[in-house]
């Protein structure tokens, strides 16, 4: 406001100029005009020029310059109404920047816009804004939810991915181990297989070879003075386990009766008296009939079924009914087992013929053979 004081010496000016000078003073000096770029009216500009050129102002300027130099304070230049460029006021600028700036009373202001006022005073915007905010908030929430779900999905995916990768690694290890084990087992199995093959080929003849034995076997028994009463040779890929299909009927002698014999003993005696066909069986002993039937076929109980033969092995079985001397039979039997150590004789029935010296033999000889 210093310039107001300096321009207080306005008596040398015309009345109109003085009024305009006052107006200029009100407009916060020409410096403000310069800064804001506000152009003065043409008439005002002319009068400003007049003021600048007036003697009193020149004097004021000189005095102010002098005071400025004397005080070393360039800010007195500001009182000049001449429009100076900013370059001419470096010190003032520096001081301005170094001083604490006074904030405007209401900092929450914006540039004035008449359209803005028209817009806000035309109608109640709250509903519109409410809808807008609602939409944007909804959009925001939608995106937020999407982002959260995406994040959750990503986290889950990451978790699953990590777990999957670790599982893949462990499964890889398992596969590797299994493969190694498989190789090991396979090698062992192959070794065993080859051993088995070797064993099979070493100890077991082929079917063709075995079929050739039939002649040798029958000759063996015949040369041992045994009469072959009956011969049945059976060969099949499937092993026949049941050897007791037609068991022989054998009669047991009668036991002496005793007064102390129990019912079982009586029945036993009755059974022993029965003929193989049951023709001589007493008619008055129906209760003892089952026991008698049991006694007639006095054979060993059927043994448990043997396990199936090893792979690629089957049997050719010779069902022979022989007649002859026991020692000859033993001789032939020993010869057979010596020649064919792998022979099986699962069925042997040696019975003495009544009133004769010769014995009857029924044997089943199983000779194992390999398929290939």
């Amino acid at each position: 406001m210093a310039n107001k004081n300096y321009f207080g010496g306005k008596k040398a000016l015309s009345k109109r100029a003085a009024e305009l000078l006052e107006e200029i003073n009100q407009s916060k000096s020409v410096q403000t005009v310069k800064e804001t770029g506000q152009a003065l009216s043409k008439r005002a500009a002319e009068l400003l020029e007049e003021i600048n050129q007036s003697k009193s102002v020149q004097t004021v300027k000189e005095i102010s310059d002098f005071i400025g130099v004397f005080l070393g304070d360039k800010k007195t230049d500001d009182i000049s109404t001449e429009i100076k460029t900013k370059k001419e006021l470096p010190d003032a600028k520096k001081k301005r920047t170094s001083k604490k700036k006074v904030k405007p009373p209401n900092t929450g202001t914006s540039r004035f816009n008449s359209t803005h006022y028209r817009n806000l005073s035309s109608s109640n915007k709250l509903y519109l804004w409410g809808v807008e905010i609602l939409i944007t908030v909804s959009l925001f929430l939608f995106l937020l939810i999407k982002a959260i779900s995406q994040a959750n999905t990503n986290i889950d995916d990451q978790k699953i991915y990590t777990e999957t990768v670790s599982r893949i690694a462990s499964i890889n290890n398992d596969i590797e181990m299994s493969r190694k084990q498989a190789i090991f087992v396979k090698n062992e199995s192959t070794k065993l297989e080859s051993t088995l093959d070797a064993l099979r080929s070493q100890f077991f003849p082929t079917l063709k070879e075995v079929q050739n034995y039939s002649d040798d076997i029958t000759r063996l028994f015949e040369l041992s003075n045994l009469v072959i009463v009956k011969q049945n040779i059976k060969s099949s890929d499937q092993y026949n386990k049941n050897i007791d299909q037609d068991p022989p009927i054998y009669s047991i002698p009668k036991a002496e009766e005793s007064t102390l014999s129990v019912a079982g003993a009586t029945s036993n005696a009755a059974a022993t008296a029965a003929t193989p066909a049951g023709k001589n069986a007493p008619a008055a002993a129906p209760a003892a009939a089952p026991a008698a039937a049991e006694e007639k076929t006095k054979n060993p109980p059927s043994p448990p079924l043997p396990p199936p033969p090893p792979k690629n092995i089957s049997f050719i079985s010779y069902d022979l009914t022989l007649r002859g001397n026991y020692l000859n039979y033993l001789k032939a039997r020993n010869a057979l087992t010596r020649v064919l150590p792998s022979v099986n004789i699962p069925y042997e029935d040696i019975a003495k013929q009544k009133g004769k010296e010769n014995m009857e033999f029924r044997i089943i000889i199983e000779i194992p053979y390999r398929f290939k």
């Binding site: 009024e19 009100q26 410096q31 806000l120 709250l126 087992v185 088995l196 006095k298």
Partner: protein
């Protein structure tokens, strides 16, 4: 209304009052119990104008206001304008409706759609103007005739437009036009004690060309003009500050002024039948307010004559970016500019009031919300108020949306779904492969085990099985006194049937069998034959 004061920041709001020679613009208001602080700007006008008729000086007013806003960086601010009492007088008008009943309320609301037509019947001043902004609020029911007393004010729409034009020309947004009297009443009442608030009081507003005495009670407000001549008003500025006032000239003036005030007071009491008033509060926008107060106080004895000006402190807002404004000067000037007075009370009533006491009963005049005479008063304040929030919200939401979209984009880029699917597919393949390998392995193992079993069987098989032990035993151990009738062998089971000379001989043979570890499950039976003297025996067993 009765908000308890909390230690908070001052309320920032621009309130403008146009006086004949200046603008008074208050920018903030801060309330303490016995003190208020206000920031204000006084802008001297280049010429004297008439606030009651600004039409002739619209350009000057707009221009000066524009300069003011530019200088103080206030462009684009919202501003509340105090409308002078002469343009929007505050009155109490009785209407023949009982607004305590809902039916009359509805009728009144319906009639307010054509407020001008309705109020024209009760306010004769409306006849002179074509259209007006009218605001009214129910005060109390008149029990005698069933009419409702309404606090009422009206202002010509033309005046409002002129004021709007000036404010918009000054690059400000006019959002509210408040009647001066209502504003003054509110701010004075807010500074009173509880007892004072419960009793009627008067405000003597000494202002150029509109001197008046305002009577305020719980349900009524009266305004009496204090008729002071123009010559006397001119003399207010010339009143000396020292003892010179004691001379005859000034004493005569003082007597004259006091007489005017007494006359107005008597009018209130006698003509308007106002109840007893204990205190008259002095409010003035004259520069020599304190001297004038003393002059009136000396001669007015009808009631207490008080001034609240000491409670109102005003800080003049310094001009921003003033080069000649350094810090030391700032502090000095602030101290110098700190002044007390009541000249801005018209502005202060437009701020939010804070109360430090609660009266026993409501003062309906004070409870009445501020009358905003802006044509769009229903929404313009809220529009401007929420516009800033909306802008902030928009920016915030846009920033958040951009952030979220970026996050979604980032998450989309970092999406592990495909990799996961690949990994899961790979895992499934691996699991199948593992199963296959394990199945192969199991098959190999089974095959190996089978081979091992086969090996054992082959090993057994190659040795043959021909009951050699049994036959060796029979051939070597059969005694001479025993003969065998039958030997039956079924794999490992055997049965021996034969005859013995004696049972003991058969027993010995059986004992030999028993003692041989190659046989088990042996049963032995012997009996005497009927057909001979021999003993028939039967031995069953199994070969190991």
């Amino acid at each position: 209304m009765k908000k308890k004061l909390k230690k908070s920041a001052p309320e920032k709001k621009l309130v403008l009052r146009i006086l004949p020679e200046e603008f008074i613009l208050t920018t903030s208001f801060y309330v303490e119990q016995f003190h208020t602080h206000t920031s204000a700007i006084r802008w001297k006008l280049p010429k004297k104008i008439d606030p009651l008729n600004i039409n002739a000086d619209l350009e000057i007013l707009s221009d000066n206001l524009q300069r003011l806003t530019k200088q103080y960086k206030l462009e684009g601010s919202q501003v509340t304008i105090v409308i002078p009492n002469g343009l929007s007088p505050l009155k109490v008008i009785g209407i023949p409706l009982n607004l305590n009943t809902s039916a009359d309320k509805k009728e009144y609301a319906a009639m307010q759609k054509q407020a001008y037509e309705f109020w024209k019947e009760y306010d004769e001043t409306l006849v002179d103007i074509k259209d007006a902004e009218i605001r009214a609020n129910f005060l109390a029911l008149n029990d005698n005739d069933g009419t409702s007393n309404m606090l009422y004010t009206a202002c010509s729409s033309k005046i409002i437009k002129e004021y709007s034009s000036v404010i918009l020309g000054g690059n400000l947004y006019p959002v509210a036009f408040i009647p001066e009297d209502q504003s003054i009443i509110r701010v004075i009442e807010s500074r009173l004690t509880r007892i004072e608030r419960e009793r009627p009081f008067c405000i003597f507003n000494l202002t150029k060309a509109s001197n008046r005495l305002i009577y305020v009670s719980n349900e009524v407000i009266y305004v009496a003009k204090v008729d002071i001549s123009d010559i006397d008003e001119i003399l207010f500025d010339e009143i000396p500050e020292d003892d010179e006032v004691e001379n005859e000239f000034w004493l005569e003036l003082t007597n004259r002024l006091s007489g005017n005030l007494k006359q107005a007071f008597a009018f209130l009491k006698d003509e308007l039948k106002a109840s007893k008033v204990e205190t008259v509060f002095f409010v003035s926008d004259h520069s020599k307010e304190n001297i004038l107060f003393e002059l009136f106080r000396k001669n007015f004895r009808l009631a207490n004559f008080r001034s609240l000006s000491s409670q109102f402190t005003f800080n003049m807002v310094p001009e921003p970016y003033d080069d000649a404004f350094d810090k030391s000067k700032d502090e000095k000037e602030v101290l110098e500019d700190k002044i007390h007075g009541s000249f801005m009370l018209s502005n202060l009533g437009c701020y939010t009031m804070h109360y430090f006491s609660t009266p026993s009963y409501k003062n309906m005049v004070i409870e009445t919300p501020l009358f905003n005479l802006h044509p769009n008063h229903n929404f313009i304040v809220n529009n401007f108020k929420f516009y800033n929030y909306l802008q902030i919200s928009r920016k915030l939401i846009i920033i958040l949306i951009v952030l979220i979209i970026s996050a979604i984009g980032y998450m989309g880029v970092m999406n592990k779904s495909d990799i996961k699917m690949k990994a899961v597919t790979e895992l499934k393949g691996m699991v199948k492969e593992l199963e296959k390998v394990q199945a192969d392995n199991a098959a190999d193992k089974f095959s190996k085990e089978q081979n091992v079993v086969d090996f054992k069987r082959l090993d057994n098989l190659k040795k043959g099985n021909y009951n050699e032990k049994l036959f060796n035993f029979i051939n070597t151990e059969l005694p001479a006194d025993l003969e065998l009738e039958r030997v039956a062998v079924r794999r490992s089971s055997f049965i021996l049937l034969g005859n013995a000379m004696s049972v003991s001989e058969a027993n010995r043979f059986y004992e030999k069998l028993l003692s041989n570890t190659n046989f088990k499950d042996l049963t032995f039976r012997v009996f005497k034959r009927t057909d001979s003297n021999l003993n028939y025996f039967e031995i069953k067993g199994n070969t190991l």
